[in-house]
Symmetry: C2
Subunit: 326 residues, 2 copies
């Protein structure tokens, strides 16, 4: 971690009073001059740091930005977040993650941005990404699993997002096959997983995650043809983006380790327990036809298992699933 | 097609005698000056074109290169080869195809090279790619099929390669799961298919094809730990690379159209009929364990279906398959 992150952490914990340059220097085992240099970096980043002769430094205010150094601090993951790269603005965290992955970035590298100038959702659609209110992040994975099982990772990130929403924001988030997260039936998060692979080997998978955290009603685009929400709208409370992100990355780290050691079953069960239509009657629109049946779960390739009215189990690889309203 | 390709085609068909500039000009509906300009291009490419006053032009010799304009000429495919890009030398046709695909190249674009300076085989291994003797080509596809079914395209290209070898070179090529082509038990061709996809949509698939055509024994690397061959070694005859490539692309075009309209079944049946171990007892090395069983075919995701001795059918997604010698 860059040392300004450690200094920031000390300033935050002692924000009630002053902390002397000598104490920072002792705790971090760096020179007084190095402390002064990093304080300067923090000020350039928009942190207001007061310095008082004979008392030391005090943090007066922080800009609402996600900094790699702060995210990494106390993250304690085994793999996810080995390297964190943060940007105030970037075209798209997925595109940047792909660039890094193509250049050989480590598995577990996380790309975070406060704003995306060209945020993308599924099927090339735009993903609204205003500054400082939401979470836009992409994680590089290099799993040693067959290409056919790569879709499992979509369910992995869906579980990590939904469980983090439920834990941190006290919500009842549901997952919608294949890659949406809903709160009260409205979309709160979208996942855009991308893969580069050859027949026998996955080069990398990018888990792209957009979560509407503190987005206000007037910040949503008007032309959406489906209901959307944010944590702020659903709970009427703002959520700490840094805390949320760290918790999410920790949960993802644990889920991923579980997937690699125990296979898909645990993730699958957790996903199924969060699924909005599990054991419910649905219509699946396949374009050419609409199938009616009951959702009975996921298969190892991430297909939705649909039990038709004649008892036959149908694997759905693509299609639009709508609960039947009776 | 570039017009020097058409002129070349006229020169080739009348190579016994001369063809006048006026006749070329009439047939191609271009000016005499344009004919002269394209003859100059051909000479720069290494074609020896004699020009005799009052008789016209005659092709004396051709360099052994694959030219986009010649490949496209009389290709008559519906999709594959809409655009052909050829290089005397390139790092890797797959890498170049990926660059083009990322930039939005049309489905069906074909990249061909006479030599690869950094040819790659499966799992990042080197693929020996000397100048002018073999076929190195990559085809960009953008199929509207679920990501889980992308491995079907590996079997598609395997069938097209094996059938072309059998048709043009009168060989009995076999396919080895998942992506090798064998002649007399030795590897004659390797396929390296790469994919870029998101959960619900394939961005593109690159079919990478390397076929040892006119490679002599002393051109193979020494350190290979498996048997290899070429058409030249197997038949003691050289094969016309241009004819081979055109036939292969035409066959691939037909197979791909069949896949998109009729699904995987026809390709699967053709692959199974070419498979070196179909209905045979094999050992499948999974790393952690070795399974013995009988190969009974492919499933829709391209997994090998193995019938164990207790009758159970096991889906093999990855592993090394060896026939049991009894």
């Amino acid at each position: 971690m860059a040392s300004y992150g450690k200094i920031l952490s000390l300033l935050r914990t002692s924000s009630a009073g002053y902390i002397s340059g000598q104490e920072i220097s002792n705790q971090l085992h760096v020179s007084r001059a190095a402390v002064w240099k990093q304080i300067k970096v923090l000020r350039e980043l928009g942190f207001e740091v007061e310095s008082k002769h004979s008392q030391g430094y005090r943090l007066l205010s922080s800009p609402d930005i996600l900094l790699a150094a702060e995210i990494e601090n106390e993250l304690n993951c085994s793999l996810i977040g080995r390297s964190v790269v943060s940007f105030p603005v970037i075209d798209s965290t997925n595109v940047q993650a792909r660039r890094l992955a193509d250049e050989g970035a480590l598995e577990g590298t996380v790309v975070v941005a406060d704003q995306q100038s060209a945020g993308r959702g599924r099927l090339g659609r735009r993903w609204e990404s205003p500054f400082g209110v939401n979470l836009y992040c992409s994680i590089i994975l290099r799993p040693d699993i067959p290409v056919q099982q790569a879709p499992q990772l979509t369910f992995l990130s869906a579980v990590a997002v939904a469980e983090t929403l439920n834990e941190i924001c006290n919500l009842t988030a549901e997952v919608k096959w294949p890659n949406d997260i809903l709160v009260n039936g409205a979309k709160i998060s979208g996942l855009l997983n991308e893969m580069s692979a050859e027949t026998e080997q996955i080069h990398f998978v990018i888990l792209g995650v957009g979560i509407n955290l503190n987005m206000a009603a007037d910040q949503f685009p008007r032309e959406l043809n489906y209901p959307v929400t944010s944590v702020l709208l659903a709970t009427e409370e703002k959520v700490d983006r840094l805390l949320f992100l760290r918790t999410f990355l920790q949960r993802l780290d644990a889920c991923y380790a579980e997937l690699l050691t125990q296979g898909f079953a645990p993730v699958r069960r957790r996903w199924e327990s969060l699924c909005n239509v599990i054991n419910r009657q649905v219509d699946v629109d396949l374009g050419a036809e609409v199938l009616r049946g009951t959702v009975v779960g996921l298969d190892p390739e991430g297909a939705l298992r649909l039990q038709l009215e004649n008892g036959e189990i149908k694997k759905i690889l693509a299609g639009d699933v709508r609960p039947v309203i009776t």
